[in-house]
Symmetry: C2
């Protein structure tokens, strides 16, 4: 019933607790016979060293704090999968908290976990935090000796390890790909124009246009606010109707679905008359009709990389600060010409 401790084992064999501890750790100081019987007994009784006692002693919890804006998003869920898997492989547990895109929640979580619960943080900023640009909580944590590795939505000005996707190049390459397939009027629809990664994608779009010799036309850029996906239609439809577009790049799959509907409504065939490509990792793109060509982001790899970097830092294998860039992939499906 009650958990077995080293003390109980000591009593069982009428030896001191230090003998038991050393026996279990296979110390040279302990005779073979003693070690054997103690180890055998411990195994039989399923003895497990108490986690809190160990953490207290070692001043290390083998636990990582993860702060993620939401889990109701395929990309972040993928990142989390990568984190959890890698952490477990390396013997680390994961305490996961959801910031819900709120700055206050983020601060609260960091506060709460800064009492020796965890060895380091893995986090992606809340939207609100990025908008109001308040990063003191991150700085404090790092200064207090709790390292942070940021992923996807990172704070430029904070000196810490980062893992990001190559949003810029992803967009650039996509424009080039579309141009190569014969598209000339390529639109860009963004649901994250206020976020850094949104800006990067736009920048990449412009760069792509320049690379292929197309003129940038601000009328072909549409910014919609995320969340109210039901309203996408009202904004997207006129945009498609009023511009004779032959390709659209979107920053997310949800709005891409709206775009596809609008294109069809506009009596254009996909991909014959107009192609659609979305930044996405979701399931929507795989089930839409036609199935969507996407710029895929390798969320799991991002999570795994971030976890690896943090753990190496915690185990003092690295001193330097790095920014790892995860490449995007163009996954060709049926919303683009063959």
């Amino acid at each position: 019933m009650k958990k077995l401790t080293i003390k109980d084992i000591a009593k069982e064999f009428k030896v001191s607790i230090s003998t038991v501890s050393k026996a279990l750790n296979d110390s040279y100081e302990i005779s073979q016979s003693t070690k054997e019987k103690i180890q055998k007994y411990a195994k039989e009784q399923n003895y497990k060293p108490n986690f809190n006692a160990l953490s207290l002693k070692n001043r290390s919890t083998k636990t990582i704090g993860v702060i993620i804006p939401t889990m109701l998003n395929y990309f972040f869920a993928q990142v989390f999968k990568g984190i959890e898997k890698t952490a477990l492989e390396k013997g680390y547990k994961v305490i996961t908290c959801i910031s819900n895109e709120s700055y206050d929640k983020e601060v609260e979580i960091i506060e709460m976990l800064s009492n020796g619960s965890i060895d380091g943080f893995l986090l992606s900023m809340a939207k609100q935090t990025e908008l109001i640009h308040k990063f003191d909580h991150f700085k404090t944590s790092i200064e207090d000796g709790t390292p942070i590795v940021m992923f996807d939505r990172v704070a430029q000005s904070i000196a810490c390890d980062k893992v990001i996707t190559d949003d810029l190049e992803g967009a650039t390459k996509t424009v080039e790909y579309l141009y190569q397939k014969g598209h000339k009027k390529i639109a860009f629809v963004s649901t994250m124009s206020n976020l850094h990664i949104g800006k990067e994608r736009l920048k990449g779009y412009k760069e792509g246009l320049k690379n292929v010799g197309l003129q940038f036309n601000k009328d072909l850029v549409l910014n919609v606010v995320e969340q109210d996906y039901k309203k996408y239609k009202n904004i997207v439809r006129p945009f498609i109707k009023n511009n004779s577009i032959d390709a659209v790049i979107t920053t997310g799959e949800s709005v891409a679905v709206s775009v596809m509907k609008a294109i069809k409504k506009n009596a254009q065939k996909i991909p014959k008359d107009a192609a659609v490509i979305a930044f996405s990792n979701g399931i929507l793109s795989r089930h839409s009709s036609p199935k969507m060509t996407t710029i895929s982001q390798h969320g799991e790899q991002m999570g795994a990389t971030a976890a690896k970097i943090l753990i190496e830092k915690l185990e003092n294998k690295t001193k330097t600060i790095t920014t790892e860039i995860i490449k995007t992939d163009l996954v060709i499906r049926d919303s683009t010409r063959k």
Copy 2:
């Protein structure tokens, strides 16, 4: 830099550590003046009692272990959201592990966390566990004093608290609803015929038929294996083609999309000629065309309920074992007649 401890504060004021401890806990044994100056200082210096020391002393970690089959699933992600939110509100942290539907992983996780890392478990069984029907790891954990609350995929034979959805009634009501809208040939497509909840849904379907006086016809039941969603088409299309169906209930949204496509292919209009209703919480149903009518499962509420039950148990407010049933809701969208 280094974390402030009670000892440091004691040194600062040249008092004993117990005085500091009592002062911080506002004990009557300590004079007002001493309490004030110590509390003030602690606040200024942002003192936080060490988590591991506390856990060791109190034999309670205020931490919950969550074992979830996957996060790449909107329903489970919703459940997790509910868990995390409720836990945090009640001052609990959450260590989250993904079983990936694997029995071995599940066992490994329970082993790993059974060293005083957590006070209790919140879990939904891996598919494999349910199939091979091996529940000893659950039993052991409970016997060793670590309570478990199971959600959604629960082990009938284990005596512990459970939170489930009313799959049976959800299906029954749906059949009745469809009948009332004039449907007579109602099919049932399952992606989880081997899981208990799958069986419940089938049972509910049959019951519904009986209630409205329709004959059960096994030809109208289609079982497909989950996962290979790309292959759904090959199985679903002939099924739709060969049976003159006027309504379909599916256990998931992914296969429902296939069903809808097959119906269209079969030159039937949705919902005029055939209606489709899926058990689902996902985003697919909200973005499909037509938008799907669903039996919605309240994942967040399920998570919140499970967390609440576990925490009450941990804080000794409850002794009894309960099974909480979360009702489903029929969310009417455009794949059913008005």
